[in-house]
Amino acid sequence: MPDFVAPTLDLHALAPEFVLAGVVCVLLLLDVVLLDRAKAIVGSIAGLGLLGSLVPILTLATSDHPTRTMFGGSYVVDSTSLLLKALFIVSAYVVVLLSTNYIGEGDYWESEYYTLLVSSVLGMTVMASARDLISIFVALELLSIPAYMLAAWSKRDGRSNEAGMKYYLMGVFASAILLYGMSLLYGWSGSTQLSEIGRAIGEKNSPAVTLGVVFVLVGFAFKVSAVPFHMWAPDTYEGAPTPVTAFLAVASKAAGFVALIQVIGQALVLRMNVMIPVVAVLAALSMTIGNLIALRQTNVIRMLAYSGIAQAGFMLAPFVASQYGGIDAIVIYLVLYAATNLGAFAVVMAIARRTRSAEISSFGGLFSYSPGLAVALSVFLASFVGIPPLGIWYGKLSVMRALIESQGRWATVLAIFVALNTAIAAYYYLNVAKTMWFDDAPEGESTPIKVPTSLRFAVGIALVATIALGVYPGPLTDAATPEATPAAAPSGR
């Protein structure tokens, strides 16, 4: 029997994960040692810790070996995964900024809140590098389980309990389906590694493979709230504490997409005949139904939830053009979507602090008494619509380019769907802008809304990212495009 050989670890490549795990421990211990005095600093510690984990990502991105492989290709750190890790960490940082006042002023358990938030981010960063089924599944559970509980964090609010419960039940159901699909793929290929599975299912098809691929796609469709598996999303988004909603709508959804990117890009791309119809139907349904329901919403948070479903459709579409730069387009879209959506949530939270509601009608005449917030929200809404040079226009361009270049039948149909739905979406996004600029302010609303510093900062980060990446998307495209020779990458160091 061969003796056990310890694996070689590239500690530099794992440094961001180590920092995040350290932050989780520090937050826990602070609460134990400082008791009530911890409340004042846990938010700052969580924020600083997240920023600290960006340092190793920067040193990795600028190092001589941008691509590092561990465990025989099961764990890969390359420019795309670094970009995605940075996306998760910066999004979480903005969510911490959004939470500082909201969680501090409400009746919440604070240090546990940040502990769960950071552990969820740890799951996301692992997901960005995971290249085998077990790592992907475990990372998915680590990022979901804290999110289920955060959705129910406002314990005395029945709607928050409902949000957490619905999200949990749907999420577990999806995990079960996903796991069954994974077991079928593993049973057929005899390996948990995505590249090996791709080779095995690419050589020969069988009903078990078809079923496995469909189950895996359905499992992830729940996670990214694609129609018809979107039922949980609007209720969960409305009931959960608003910063948690922002986290779910941006980081959690992005992580679902990252998992899809790994599974489809590494393995299922060799089984296009099964994968394309499933993804195409999911994408077309999500875009159209998400948009049609968003049209009728009167609450901004619910509108953002349904528009998020429609945006998920835009991001699913390029998977049918995976071999023509579709995956890069999804990564680009994800980054821009995160910046825009977090910004929109930050402004809505700032306004809701005063109006105590997120009804669209309560936004009337916002420009007359709080012009800064009105302009900021208008920028984010215009970015959602895809007006150049604001953020998402470049994402939409990349998606369309990938779809049209692939020239497939499904891709062409989806390109038409994307164009039509962009037009539908413009109506309800700009409707909110119209309410803010032209409608009358409610009685007694004349003093400008006071925005706390942390929220101001969050809006600022999102604004800068939305505008800068829209005007100059070059670096984003470079980071999202993987190097040409993944097979010849040096292993370890």
């Binding site: 826990l28 465990f71 769960l116 990372a139 964090w153 493979v209 079923l211």
Partner: protein, 181 residues
């Protein structure tokens, strides 16, 4: 011990799966199917949980037949030792009805449920039979527990560590949500 008993009877890879193992599987499968149907149709929730024990134990026995003794022990410990006991505690410590409750069974939805179950059986069974029907199982002499532990601390080191953070997070969140304050 049971596993090694079956292993001694193993035939060559080209031949069939060992006869005693086949018989053991047949008995086990029948018991599991019967118990699984009772889990769904039983109107007393405590009885339903106890029938679930039979189903989960059957899975454990299947692992034993396949010579995965570590997996079998884990299955017994975790599912029967922990999860079912938790179910029963949950039923007894909350105000859930303990005896017969007729509203557990939804007669109107029964045809739909049976239809969905039969459809799933046909699709899954068909796919599995046509994909793996020709595959012969080979009994290995290697110690699967050793292989498993080697894999956990080598190839799957990162998921193993990630699971520990996940359990910690689940614990903290569950305490916060469950405690009375």
């Amino acid at each position: 011990m049971i596993a090694s008993l079956f292993a001694a009877q193993a035939c060559a890879p080209s031949e069939c799966f060992a006869v005693p193992a086949n018989i053991a599987f047949g008995i086990c499968a029948l018991l599991m199917i019967g118990a699984a149907i009772k889990v769904v149709t039983e109107t007393n929730i405590v009885h339903a949980a106890l029938y679930l024990v039979v189903v989960l134990a059957g899975v454990g026995v299947n692992y034993l037949i396949l010579q995965a003794e570590f997996l079998a022990v884990t299955q017994f410990l975790v599912y029967i030792g922990a999860i079912i006991v938790l179910f029963l505690f949950g039923i007894m410590l909350t105000r859930a009805p303990m005896g017969r409750s007729d509203d557990l069974d939804n007669a109107k939805l029964r045809p739909a449920g049976i239809g969905a179950a039969v459809m799933l059986l046909v699709v899954l069974g068909g796919a599995l039979l046509s994909s793996f029907g020709e595959t012969h199982l080979v009994f290995s002499t290697a110690n699967s527990t050793t292989a498993l532990s080697d894999a956990v601390f080598n190839q799957y080191l990162i998921p193993f560590e990630v699971v520990s953070v996940m359990l910690l997070a689940a614990l903290i969140g569950a305490i916060v949500l469950a405690r009375r304050d």
